[in-house]
């Protein structure tokens, strides 16, 4: 079966000029992914990993520097028009910037329905339904400039779904939403995927959201895909990751403390150590948290460090990066 989205060494290098010195930033670096039709595909990564650039290239908004991709079987460079009519794109980070603020929500949606060639009667039905679903029926005639950020985000979500495209690019769709709408939106996306067989490419920096929804997850870092696996494999990877977090009073020699902690036999690695104004947090990967906690506490105590709390912690993206780095070097 043909893939819904397939990339071939897709690469984007941004040029920037700083103090008259040209700098090149590889935002996306030879990415090869293949998303099957009807798949719910998660793209996970910290901010600046290149997720948005990758998505924008697939939506034909940005032209690649090298390589290409096929969306719904069409080449993104040679057949952008065909790609454009079978995708729905949403970008949450803009916070509602990409709407016409001087038009109402209804008019905004009507406008995009025209652009996407949706027949008038169908468009009307869908706009009514979407506005009702996103709880905007009452304000539908109000100009978007008077909306809150959450409302604008909801209009943008409705816009992405309006033409019923087979492939949806959802770039951080829950970022500006309150908890209830975020839950509803996730349910809708899941249903669109399972009931209507839509291919969904979903990006987020929240691991749990992605794990909950997606059938397959790719993790991106510095423009590269470093993991591409189903959530079960990811969970498996993290199964033997045990992490604890220690809060201590703020200190000047954090790196000395980190150094002596990493020498402890119960500590596998120090994931991160952050100093904030009143306390510092150290995150450790350990073999067994029950053994590690007393050892870490007594070590810190002997160093004269004031501990305010110690706890087990759920694995995070950082843990995966540390683990992968270790495996890579081993």
């Amino acid at each position: 079966m043909e893939a819904a989205v397939e990339t071939f060494d897709l690469t984007k290098v941004f040029e920037s000029k700083e103090d008259d010195v040209k700098r090149y930033v590889k935002a996306v670096d030879h990415v090869n992914i293949r998303v099957k039709r009807g798949e719910f595909f998660g793209l996970l990564g910290p901010n600046g990993a290149g997720k948005t650039t990758l998505i924008k290239m697939l939506c034909t908004i940005i032209l690649p520097t090298e390589g290409t991709a096929k969306v719904n079987g069409y080449d993104i460079i040679k057949e952008p028009d065909k790609v454009r009519s079978c995708i729905g794109w949403f970008h949450g980070e803009t916070g509602g910037r990409s709407l016409y603020w001087r038009l109402s929500a209804e008019d905004n949606l009507k406008f995009y329905a025209y652009l996407q060639n949706v027949p008038k009667d169908v468009a009307e039905k869908r706009i009514n339904a979407l506005l009702e679903f996103f709880d905007l029926s009452k304000e539908r005639k109000k100009l978007v400039k008077d909306y809150s950020t959450g409302m604008k985000v909801r209009v943008m979500l409705a816009r992405a779904l309006l033409h019923n495209p087979p492939i949806l690019f959802m770039d951080e769709p829950t970022i500006g939403l309150d908890t209830i709408s975020a839950v509803e939106t996730r349910r809708l996306l899941k249903a669109l995927n399972t009931e209507l067989g839509k291919t969904i490419i979903f990006t987020s920096h929240n691991m749990f959201e992605v794990e909950q929804l997606c059938e397959r997850i790719a993790i991106m870092r510095s423009g590269r895909i470093i993991v591409d696996a189903p959530p079960s494999v990811l969970r498996e990877m993290l199964r033997d990751v045990h992490a604890i977090e220690v809060d201590i009073r703020e200190t000047n020699d954090l790196h000395k403390i980190v150094e002596s902690l990493s020498k402890l036999s119960v500590v596998r690695s120090v994931v991160e150590a952050k100093n904030s104004p009143f306390n510092a947090t150290i995150r450790l990967q350990v073999d067994d948290e029950y053994e590690a906690i007393p050892a870490v506490v007594s070590k810190l105590h002997s160093l004269g460090v004031k501990i305010s709390s110690v706890r087990r912690s759920e694995p995070t993206l950082e843990d995966i990066f540390v683990k992968l780095a270790k495996e890579g070097s081993a």
């Binding site: 984007k12 941004f14 040029e15 935002a27 650039t53 924008k56 939506c59 034909t60 908004i61 940005i62 032209l63 520097t65 028009d81 065909k82 454009r84 009519s85 995708i87 794109w89 970008h91 803009t94 910037r97 990409s98 709407l99 016409y100 603020w101 001087r102 038009l103 008019d107 406008f111 995009y112 025209y114 652009l115 996407q116 060639n117 949706v118 027949p119 169908v122 039905k125 869908r126 339904a129 979407l130 009702e132 679903f133 100009l143 816009r159 779904l161 033409h163 019923n164 509803e184 349910r187 809708l188 249903a191 669109l192 009931e195 209507l196």
Partner: protein, 293 residues
């Protein structure tokens, strides 16, 4: 509305037939609606149009009417002479800067990204914006002419033939400049700086086209005179004056000559403009700056 209902609604798909006419209509309709939402601006601009026409009528009181005859339209009064000039110059300026302004706005608001990500051709976009430009600037031009003719009694020749000929000349004038307007829009997309090009263009055009005085006075400066004769606007204005001041029509030989020049300019500049525009759009897609300003 529950998730299930929404899914049911989307279960039945519809055929989507691409239609350029609907695309053009969508761009026009949305932008016209946005224009109407700037009510204060519309009112103020209307007032300033009326004020400027009034101003010209007082300025005209100081003009030596014998010297106006040098322009070659006979013994006309200066108000009508200037009215035609000012109205057409403003129309041209508003029309050709329309696309650049609109695009700057779209980049600023981030609305260009969703437009690029949808299957509308840039041609439909340009046409839609231009229709909006024609109508809005047409409103102001009509306002100026009506105040001039009805309130200040400028003796323009108004008949069915002259009005139709005038409209045709105006359209040709805009057409002959649209290549430059489209080119400027493409350059602005890339360089993100205001639109110095069209601004400079407008003021030079207004000055050299002989809006307020007969071009005869340029003959002392052959360089300026040559530039003036090379500008399509000079010919459009000449045609418009022949029609509205002397009652010529588009079929009169002198007017036909102007029309031919305007057509030639359109044929040369529009393809160049479109090419530059396409280059601009691809350039910002390559640089990834579709929504950066």
């Amino acid at each position: 509305m529950r998730v299930e209902d929404l899914i049911d609604l989307f279960r039945e798909d519809c055929q989507r037939i691409p239609s350029e006419v609907r695309h053009v209509w969508a761009i026009f309709w949305a932008n016209f609606k946005i224009f109407l939402s700037y009510r204060t601006w519309v009112i103020l601009e209307t007032i300033s149009t009326v004020a400027s026409v009034a101003m010209y009528s007082f300025m005209g009181l100081q003009v030596d009417s014998r010297r106006i005859a040098l322009a070659g339209y006979g013994e006309v009064d200066w108000l009508s002479f200037a009215l035609v000039g000012v109205a057409t110059a403003n129309y041209l300026w508003m029309c050709i800067s329309r696309l650049s302004h609109a695009l700057q706005h779209e980049v600023h608001e981030g609305t260009l990204e969703p437009i690029i990500a949808s299957p509308i051709s840039m041609r439909s976009y340009i046409i839609g914006q231009s229709i909006r430009g024609f109508l809005v600037s047409g409103y102001f031009m009509l306002g100026a002419l009506i105040v001039g003719v009805c309130v200040l009694k400028a003796p323009l020749v108004i008949s069915l033939e002259t009005v139709l000929s005038f409209v045709a000349v105006i359209l040709l004038m805009v057409l002959s400049y649209s290549g430059i307007g489209i080119m400027a829009a493409g350059l602005i997309l890339v360089y993100k700086k205001g639109d110095p090009l069209t601004f400079l263009f407008a003021s030079v055009t207004e000055f050299l086209g002989g809006v307020l005085f007969p071009l005869k006075y340029f003959e002392a400066f052959p360089g300026l005179y040559l530039v003036a004769m090379l500008m399509p606007y000079t010919h459009a204005l000449d045609a418009a004056r022949r029609i509205l001041l002397n009652g010529a029509t588009i079929l009169s030989p002198a007017v036909l000559q102007d029309v031919a020049i305007l057509l030639a300019y359109s044929a040369v500049f529009i393809p160049i403009g479109l090419r530059v525009f396409r280059w601009g759009v691809d350039r910002i897609r390559y640089e990834g700056t579709v929504a950066t300003y």
